[in-house]
């Protein structure tokens, strides 16, 4: 088993536990041991785009120091930091880039954090999807034990995996990484033009109506093309697209609820893993009736 430093993030420990458990189980099948970093703190989401707003980069840098320490102790086989949550991925990767490009700012941060050892730079951030691509989708295919062929699923990327282009894990205009994975596990992939449209993100707090409108557009666009479920890697997108379906239903009485999976829940199903790793109780729209209908 290859050991890699793993950053869970706050949501994956609470409402996104279904994502974490299914991801850890999926990674295990692929020969990866996710070693949760010690004393991790919030990634600092959302990344500050103001160049000199260094205080908002500290949270991420502190996590990189933890990875550095793990590496120095020889606990890990990979010097990259693995994340699952798209939001954490985006924030951590942006800061990793900034620290690589602006050594003066890194000096300033190191001076400020005088109780920590200096961050020497060099920790790169990687998403589980990228690691899977690295292994090769044929490798994934060889692990599949259960056919999901009858399930029609549309991938939803949202923003944070693809924008800005410096942190994008795939072509920001024409991403295929999720399609490739879903094809490898034998899902019937449905393409949708709104797959990288914003779900409304944190507008969900102050301006839920916008989120309801966007969610309706995204879901209906996928449904029109035959999708029965969406798949994502972002707990915030999952919340906006799934939990907000209650409000969508109020505005559009004929709206039918559509389950939203984390991609790791589908891999766990395809690999024939124990059902409890998927924690479907935590999905806002229960996908089990759909799975039952499809005899999965």
């Amino acid at each position: 088993m290859k050991k890699i430093p793993y950053y869970p993030g706050c949501t994956l420990k609470t409402t996104g536990k279904n994502f974490e458990d299914s991801a850890i189980a999926t990674a295990k099948v692929l020969g990866l041991k996710l070693l949760e970093i010690d004393r991790w703190n919030c990634c600092g989401t959302v990344t500050s785009l103001t160049q000199d707003d260094l205080i908002h980069h500290i949270a991420s840098v502190r996590n990189f120091i933890r990875v550095q320490e793990m590496n120095e102790r020889g606990e890990v086989d990979d010097y990259r930091l693995l994340t699952l949550c798209s939001m954490c991925y985006n924030t951590l990767k942006s800061v990793s880039n900034v620290m690589q490009e602006r050594p003066d700012d890194l000096d300033k941060i190191n001076n400020f954090m005088d109780r920590e050892e200096d961050y020497k730079g060099g920790v790169t951030v990687v998403h589980l999807l990228e690691l899977i691509r690295e292994m090769g989708f044929d490798e994934i295919k060889s692990k599949v034990k259960k056919s999901l062929g009858k399930l029609k699923v549309s991938p939803y990327y949202g923003c944070t995996l693809l924008r800005p282009k410096e942190v994008a894990l795939d072509d920001p205009e024409v991403p295929t990484i999720m399609e490739d994975l879903l094809n490898a596990i034998g899902v019937d992939v449905i393409d949708s033009p709104k797959k990288s449209m914003c779900c409304g993100s944190y507008q969900t707090v102050r301006n839920p109506k916008t989120v309801v409108r966007l969610g309706y557009e995204i879901i209906e666009s996928a449904r029109k093309r035959g999708a029965e479920a969406l798949v994502t890697s972002c707990p915030l997108c999952a919340f906006n697209l799934d939990d907000r379906q209650k409000e969508i239903k109020l505005e559009h009485p004929d709206f039918e609820r559509m389950p939203v999976f984390y991609f790791t829940q589908l891999t766990a199903l395809a690999f024939g893993l124990k059902k409890d790793v998927n924690n479907f109780d935590l999905n806002f729209t229960d996908p089990r009736p759909l799975l039952k209908k499809k005899k999965i």
Binding site: T14, C42, A59, R115
Partner: protein, 259 residues
């Protein structure tokens, strides 16, 4: 009534400054300190609190137990020639030459009202009552400010992800002095967050101790009444004997012997 007066005198005595009656001739070492900018020479053996009293200050606030437990005597200081701002409990820290001192007797803080019995034991409860914890940027200033050397930032982070147990464990030695809250750039009131964590964990998460339950029941039934009566009736010599015996039994028990 006479007995009660005696007790009050005892308490008053216990909480008295110990600096009375120091003869400058007996003092071997002196320390030069600055209290709110004014210079004083004080005996170097004193704590900050005693030194301030020696200098003529009289505490009617910022002074509670004098034993490092109550958290009332928060002190902030800088050493001459150093950039670091440091914190201490005045009753627990010895004066040093070149200390610039000030007392911070009170930290203004909002404490939300919650019902421990009705509040669901859910991760997001922290954010419900203390939404400002989401403003934490992990600067670690709170940890640096803690005179108890707690990992304050780590427990705020644990609160963010709803980990009651970690909050309770990391904050167990908090004395609520308020230094973290006063230094926090995100204006979080850390000690109230952790109190909520401890209370909730204590009620919902902490594993039930069956032995304790048994003893409480027995106490309520009055099974130990006779023992207590005997114990309270002992004179000094008998008390010492009983203590030695109890300690010996305890040592034997901890070694794995019979009770």
């Amino acid at each position: 009534m006479a007995k009660e007066k005696n007790i009050m005198e005892k308490i008053a005595h216990a909480n008295q400054s110990v600096t009375k009656g120091i003869d400058p001739k007996d003092v071997k070492h002196w320390a030069k300190i600055y209290i709110m900018g004014k210079v004083y020479e004080v005996p170097a053996d004193l704590t900050i609190m005693q030194a301030m009293e020696y200098a003529g200050y009289r505490f009617i606030h910022s002074c509670g137990c004098r034993a490092g437990f109550c958290g009332a005597c928060s002190t902030i200081y800088r050493m001459k020639g150093e950039y670091k701002l440091q914190t201490a409990m005045a009753c627990q820290t010895r004066v040093e030459c070149g200390m610039y001192l000030v007392q911070l007797p009170f930290s203004p803080a909002e404490k939300p009202i919650y019902s421990v019995t009705k509040e669901p034991y859910e991760g997001n409860s922290f954010l419900k009552y203390f939404p400002e914890i989401a403003r934490c940027v992990s600067c670690n200033t709170c940890t640096k400010a803690c005179p108890q050397d707690l990992e304050v930032m780590d427990y705020v982070q644990a609160a963010l992800r709803g980990d009651f147990q970690r909050v309770a464990e990391l904050s167990f030695d908090c004395i609520q002095c308020g230094m973290c809250a006063l230094r926090c750039p995100a204006e979080i009131v850390q000690y109230n967050v952790s109190q909520f964590g401890r209370v909730m964990y204590g009620r919902n998460g902490f594993p039930e101790n069956k032995a304790l339950k048994k003893v409480v029941k027995a106490t309520e039934k009055g099974e130990y009444k006779k023992d207590f009566k005997n114990l309270l009736g002992l004179n000094m010599k008998q008390s010492k004997e009983a203590y030695k015996k109890q300690q010996a039994t305890k040592a034997k028990f901890l070694k794995g012997g019979k009770k």
